[in-house]
Amino acid sequence: MRKNFLFVAILAITMVSMVEAQTVYFNGLGRAIVTNDNLKGLALDPDSLNSIPDTANARKSTGGYTLFDLGVNAQPGENLRASAILRVQNAFGGFYGDGSFLQFRQLRLDGVLNKVVKYEIGDIDLGMTPYTLYNFSEMYHDYEADIFAIRRSIVQYENFNFGNKWRLQGFNANTALKFEKGIEKIGVSAFATRTRRTNFMDLPDRLLVGGQVGLTQSKYFKVGFNYVKFFDVINSVQSPVVKNFNNEVMTGDFRLTYDFADKVETALYGEVGRSQFSYDTANTAVANDDYFYDLGISAKYKPLDIKVFASYRYVGAYFSSPSAQTRRIYDFGTPAVFPEIGNNVSYGRLPILYDRFTDDNIRNQSIQAGLMAYLPQYNAITPYGMATPNRKGLTAGISAGGEEKIYSADVIIDMLSEVSGEGTNSDNNKREFFGAKGGASLSLNKIVGFEKALVLTGGFRYENVSRVDNAIDFSSLLLDAGITAEVIKQFDLMAGYKRLSAKGNEFLSVRDSYNLIVGYQAYQIDAKQDILAFGVRYRFSRNTFFAVQGLWVNYDDNVAKFNNYKINQAFLSYTMVF
């Protein structure tokens, strides 16, 4: 009896020790989505202005899926963690799991070397400055309604759009050296990733490597150095037609802050840098280099939480930074819902505002060597983010409040112009850009003292592009409005409205594989898009909810009315995060 007791005790102690030495914990996400779409409009109507009615394409579609992302995290010691996210997904229409698939959505090892260097290997999220490595937002939506934000968050999750970082595969390491006097710390980080695998024929391996050195002198002064190199690995293929691409960006940034009487926080900040680009084939070599600078100043009055800021930037026409200039969305992609309209099957439906925050298919997850084509109604002034080449001018704004406050609001004005005219050799050859955007979010419940949430949001974005010679006159206006009302505990009524109108003409640049402009496409538009949505949401917890929405989408082309169409959608979603 005594021996049995000892055996059980030792066994129990051993098992407890094993568990404590190796911790395994789980997290994950489960989601179910059902959509039902209905297509209408003059584009289909036999009595429309279009003499050939659409008899080829469906008017209704139903779709959806259930998925479960299980995150397994194993921490065998305090210095190492291995994590994986395993996805099981079943599209609706599959029966008893038919059509299900299993895939690894994420694999990562991370840890600490010698308590000094943190590292990550595998699927990692990386970001630096807006001019070096940055995944900029596809379109202004700071004050869009919650009902649309739910849809956008799904698309962002599916495409690994976590903040402004790029999801890459490779290695990242960082460390910080702390000092006792003079300098607070120096942070060093470096990464190496592969963005394209060779096809062993005519496409070499393409790598993105880089790093940062940041010096924090104190809370008043910081300076940093950033470097990114995006290049093809020469000789990873033996092919006479291979093009060897190489792009390097080096920048320095700084920030000086100072508080006046503990009430006014001022800051002087900026970034300056240059890029070098070369692209060689057997017969051709193209090389360009250029520079940029972006200097700003801000002042924040702390008691009222009001901040004013202004900056001036110059980005040269040949400034090339693919990891900062790559777009998240293919403006000329093929949407998943009703991809074609019209009997002419070569006329695919271009993605509209509705597709941009609901459709996974048109999202881009990889860094592109060249500047991607874009449509100006969605972003005419900075289609490639802050690092958009060939821009100079002033940006200024004012903001107040914050996320946890009763209100938050801001207005930002852009007054920019081109550095060099595009294709136009005359005195009035530069485009002028004017942009204004802003909005407000108001938690009415906090003002009137309600327990339940009542939030109003409203935003706008206006853009205008003009040029005298080879005349351009293009403007677009985006409006956002929304309301979320918690009518009973954890149960919200939601409504939202979006409107995008665009009118005018532009000339879209056609670029070759060397990023040089080789032609132009005249572009004309006079169209508006409206999205109206109503829905309800029951929140089981902060990240677990069930939502039902109805959306009414309208596309009106004022010039070619036979292109007009409507999409009505019913959308159900259950999301669980644990």
């Binding site: 096809n199 300056v272 240059r274 520079y291 550095v419 005219g421 050859n429 132009y520």
Partner: protein, 365 residues
């Protein structure tokens, strides 16, 4: 003296050395910066609403059709203003397209010429005997003018076309100063694996047909078979090339991949008569191969230098030669079909195989 607030931070001063470092760093960034250009990109000018075409013609001297082996099409025109113009040549049978553009008021025939090549983006080659429409258009204008003519003979691209481009596949065809043989009833085949090859007149890039090769790797050996062109045995006749330098000789072909045949590998095999006895002996002589897994759908131009070919993996079939690339003793050139992974069906099309010298095939030249 009261310290300057902006330079004294937490009781320490920013050293002048550090400021000097910052100054040098910033100076470095701007040191080699050039003055921005007045404009970037290709210059263009859009048409005004008053634009008119005073005259437009695609070579009035063409009566019986243009012979691109000796001549080129010249475009002649006069406009009411200096404007960006485009002339698009479109083959009405082939669908091939060639676009030229300019910025001028006079379309100068000495500069606006077309030598019979095509835009690579459309893949298709122009065909002999087909009608071509030359269409004059302008940036941001609906003004259009057209002229038509026919092609008597298509452009002869630099290089030597193998298999006669699969247009007249059976029997002998000219090759430089020689004649090569291609017998579609005598393929190179693995007896265990069924293989068919036929001419396909629905999917092609050049001419009116391509070669379709299809088979199944029933014996799990990867190799299914191939189509070969060769010099007959005996004598001292070899497939002659314009260069004997393996770094200068390029094998090019358009390969079509099918989405429903994802396990297809194509290889180009070149058999050498190492001992120059007039006969290729597979057990003791070289076969040099270049193989590529077809991981695309549609047509794709594949180009490879002879120096990048690898020795055959089979010791019994071309893997036991002298291991030297000798272009002066080539007996056979083969398009093979393999399964990858083994044991699968495979299929692809091949069109316009051409040997070029000095550079890969460029359809714009």
């Amino acid at each position: 003296m009261k310290p300057n607030k902006f330079l004294i931070i937490r009781g320490t001063s920013i050293s002048t050395g550090f400021l000097g470092f910052l100054f040098l760093t910033v100076s470095f960034f701007f040191s080699a910066c050039k003055k921005p250009e007045h404009f970037v990109g290709k210059e263009y000018k859009e048409a005004s609403s008053d634009l008119s075409v005073l005259y437009f013609e695609a070579d009035a001297s063409i009566n019986n059709g243009i012979d691109f082996t000796t001549d080129s099409v010249s475009v002649n025109g006069e406009l009411s203003e200096r404007v960006t113009w485009y002339v698009t040549f479109r083959g009405l049978s082939s669908g091939a397209v060639k676009k030229i553009d300019g910025l001028s008021q006079i379309i100068d025939p000495s500069e606006a010429k077309w030598g019979g090549d095509h835009d690579p983006s459309t893949l298709r080659f122009f065909q002999p005997g087909e009608q071509v429409v030359a269409e004059l258009t302008f940036l941001n204008s609906s003004v259009v003018r057209r002229d038509t003519f026919s092609i008597k003979k298509i452009k002869k691209f630099k290089g030597d076309v193998l298999f006669n481009g699969f247009e007249n596949a059976l029997g002998y065809y000219s090759w430089g100063n020689n004649y090569l043989f291609f017998n579609e009833t005598d393929p190179l085949s693995n007896p265990a694996n069924p293989m068919t090859f036929v001419m396909d007149n629905k999917l092609f890039v050049e001419g009116k047909q391509s070669l379709s090769i299809e088979g199944a790797d029933n014996d799990n050996t990867y190799f299914i078979g191939g189509a070969r062109t060769f010099m007959p045995d005996g004598g001292s006749k070899y497939i002659n090339f314009q260069s004997l330098n393996p770094d200068s000789v390029y094998f090019n072909a358009y390969i079509y991949g099918f989405a429903n045949y994802p396990n297809t590998r194509v290889s180009i095999g070149v058999a050498e008569d190492d001992n120059t006895n007039g006969i290729f002996q597979p057990a003791s002589e070289d076969v040099w191969e270049f193989a590529v897994k077809i991981n695309w759908t549609g047509w794709r131009l594949v180009s490879v230098k002879y120096s990048d070919f690898a020795t055959s993996a089979s010791r019994e079939n071309g893997g036991s030669g002298n291991k030297r690339k000798e272009l002066d003793r080539i007996k056979q050139i083969t398009f093979n079909i393999l399964a990858d992974p083994a044991g699968n069906k495979a299929s692809y099309l091949v069109d316009f195989p051409i040997i070029t010298y000095g550079e890969p095939f460029d359809p714009t030249k």
